[in-house]
């Protein structure tokens, strides 16, 4: 009896070892806000990443590897994001880290990943300076704030034939950096800047600005701020009867923008990280169809970004594996070799400085729903 048991034990052990040998686990940390006011960024990105990972593991796309995602909650707090990253590197010995969601927490994580020489890939962080630090251990999937605003200017001119643009700019780093890029493109194309007004982040009554703007009679308005201000500006434009095509930055995709602006939000334009149905490729269509089959709704922009983050990671694992062994260094190098990879949000290339090249969808709010206005793919 004892001999039989020991034989069974030996068999079980050898099977387990064989399993381990056939599928080597790659531990990947993923840090983002899973609670608190900015939880939507983290939870939806994680959901999208898990959805893509499930499909990749089931299809055998990872070959002899298996990815284990290790999530941690930053609650949108840079300090907590940095602590979580340090813990993952020290205790879990992760291969690389995905995150953060906000620019502030991403920068805090960089302070940990860079000296530890662990590659970090952010799905959502937009601050332009994140990729201007000569850091070879960081890249991102989202366009920079600079690229968002610069492309928005190109879109306004090429798609909407704007001739005279009025810029309303949130008077902080975020708003001013958007305005720099937007204004630069507008002026480079010889388009008239009818006015550029900075408003205080805490401002609520925009009627003095809007009255001045009305007198300038622009044919296009760009509001470069957050949904709390863009919502009130669009609402007050409606109250004053100002009807001019308006770009409200990324706000139209945020439900609170529609609540604040009310009926005046109808017709507002904006840019998104990703917009379901905007990509007419096989990969783009497959994602929307698969997501709808499981969740009975279209994916959100953050779910799309989480999904694509995982697709890029899977491709990098394949490249690193083909080149030899998957290590912290080889996975980093593989990310920088991603070029024209067809994913849900279009074809993605990681640039040498860690920035990304991929399409940017512009949308319009119509009857409370977002509709694709234009897909800028430059």
């Amino acid at each position: 009896m004892l001999r039989n048991l020991s034989r069974l034990g030996a068999l079980a052990l050898s099977l387990a070892l064989a399993g381990q040998a056939s599928a080597q686990t790659l531990k990947i940390g993923i840090v983002g806000p899973l609670s608190g006011p900015s939880a939507v960024y983290g939870t939806e990105t994680l959901e999208g990443a898990r959805f893509a990972l499930e499909a990749a593991q089931a299809s055998g796309a990872l070959g002899s590897y298996k990815i284990e995602l290790i999530p941690d909650d930053s609650a949108g707090n840079p300090g907590r994001a940095a602590q979580a990253t340090a813990r993952m590197i020290a205790s879990d010995d992760v291969l690389m880290v995905i995150g953060g969601s906000t620019s502030a927490e991403t920068q805090a994580m960089i302070e940990v990943t860079r000296p530890a020489e662990v590659f970090q890939f952010s799905p959502l962080a937009q601050a332009t300076n994140l990729t201007q630090q000569g850091n070879k251990w960081f890249a991102r999937l989202s366009q920079t704030a600079d690229a968002f605003a610069g492309n928005a200017a190109i879109w306004a001119i090429e798609r909407h034939k704007a001739k005279s643009v009025y810029m309303l700019v949130r008077n902080d780093n975020y708003g001013q950096s958007l305005a720099e890029a937007f204004g630069r493109e507008i002026e480079a194309k010889g388009i008239k800047v009818a006015g550029r007004v900075a408003y205080e982040p805490a401002a609520k009554d925009f009627k003095p600005i809007l009255s001045t703007m009305g007198q300038a009679n622009p044919d296009f308005v760009a509001i470069l701020g957050l949904y709390t201000d863009t919502g009130l500006i669009v609402k007050q434009m409606g109250e004053l009867g100002i009807k001019v095509p308006t770009y409200a930055n990324t706000s139209p995709a945020i439900p609170q923008f529609i609540e604040i602006a009310g009926p005046a939000s109808d017709g507002a334009y904006g840019a998104l990280y990703y917009f379901a149905g905007s990509i007419d490729t096989a990969a783009g269509k497959k994602f929307v169809a698969d997501w709808n089959a499981k969740f009975k709704r279209d994916p959100s922009q953050y779910e799309g970004m989480g999904y694509d983050t995982m697709l890029v990671l899977v491709e990098a694992v394949k490249k690193a594996s083909a080149a030899g062994k998957v290590t912290r260094e080889s996975i980093r190098d593989a990310f920088f070799k991603i070029a024209d990879l067809p994913v849900a949000s279009g074809n993605v290339s990681i640039l040498p400085n860690g920035d990304v090249k991929r399409p940017l969808p512009f949308v319009q709010l119509k009857d409370g729903k977002l509709k694709l206005d234009f897909l800028l793919d430059k």
Binding site: G36, P37, N171, V197, A198, Y199, E200, A202, A203, K204, D205, F206, K207, P208, I209, S211, T212, G214, Q215, T228, G231, L232, K235, G238, E239, L240, G241, Q256, E259, I260, G262, P263, A264
Partner: protein, 291 residues
């Protein structure tokens, strides 16, 4: 056309500042205390109105206003009994009292963030987006509610202070608490009444502010401008608080357009400094309170 809309917009915002400034003045008259939590009381009123609206979306706006005022008035009563009055009874230093009011404001703002969340909330009622045209000028309908409420408040406070024993007692305590106590007036009761009225006015400001903009946990900052308004009109003066509010509202709106909107927030304080340089006691100084 623009100038008319600007002036009306400034006057309406000024009424909101005036209502909060009235709260500052009421409490200062009764207790000699500057309640820096007054802006957060306004925020609380705005959120309580939102909750009432969420529970009973069909309720008319006026009922929402009354419910929020009663609930916030009760809250003010409790805060006065639990926090302020014991501190005053122990002859707490003014610095301590100022810190106490600031602390209560911060706790209120954080509690609101925990309970109602960090995102702003919008009153989902037609009034939020209703526009009426008067003489060809498009005006939000809520402007009329704000101006109407302010007018009623001035009349009601005037009646209170001139025709009722409670009002006369409040005036007596505001001028000389010791003598009024010797005359049989209970200063504790007077401070409770003042706190309840101030909280109700703060709540009204919050509910009336909501359809114009939105309600958020950090909107207590409005209280600082209202404080400037109360100082301009002489802290403790009911009439001065209203006029101070209107001056700040108009100066902000018109000055913002002339000087530049990025300086709009500084205008209230610039006006306050200018007034204090010319009239250190404010525009409507009354007899000094006897300690």
């Amino acid at each position: 056309m623009n100038a008319v809309i600007q002036i009306l917009s400034g006057l309406t915002i000024g009424c909101i500042y005036g209502l909060v400034a009235l709260g500052f003045s009421m409490i200062f008259r009764a207790m000699g205390l500057v309640n820096f939590a007054q802006g957060d009381i306004m925020m609380l009123g705005g959120f309580l109105g939102y909750t009432a609206l969420s529970i009973a979306p069909e309720l008319p706006f006026v009922f929402i206003l009354v419910i929020a005022m009663i609930a916030t008035g009760l809250f003010g009563f409790v805060i006065e009994r639990v926090a302020y009055r014991p501190a005053l009874k122990r002859n707490a230093d003014q610095i301590y009292l100022v810190l106490l009011t600031l602390g209560i404001g911060i706790v209120l703002a954080n509690a609101a963030r925990l309970f109602w969340g960090a995102n702003p909330v919008v009153y989902k009622i037609p009034l939020t987006f209703d526009i009426v045209h008067v003489g060809g000028y498009p005006l939000p309908r809520v402007y009329f509610y704000i101006v109407g409420f302010m007018t009623l408040t001035i009349i009601a406070l005037n009646l209170l202070f001139t025709k009722t024993w409670t009002g006369l007692a409040l005036r007596a305590v505001s001028q000389d608490p010791t003598t009024s106590r010797l005359m049989g007036i209970d200063p504790g009761r007077s401070s409770s009444v003042a706190f309840v009225i101030a909280s109700m006015l703060g709540a009204a400001a919050g509910v009336l502010y909501a359809p114009l903009f939105y309600v958020s946990f950090d909107m207590g900052a409005v209280g600082l401008k209202a404080f400037a308004a109360a100082i301009i009109g002489s802290l403790g003066s009911v009439f001065g608080a209203v006029v101070g509010g209107l001056i700040v509202g108009l100066a902000e709106t018109i000055g913002g357009q002339i000087i530049g909107t990025e300086f709009q927030d500084s205008i209230a304080f610039a006006v306050m400094i200018a007034v204090l340089l010319l009239r250190p006691q404010g525009l409507f100084a009354q007899n000094r309170r006897v300690a």
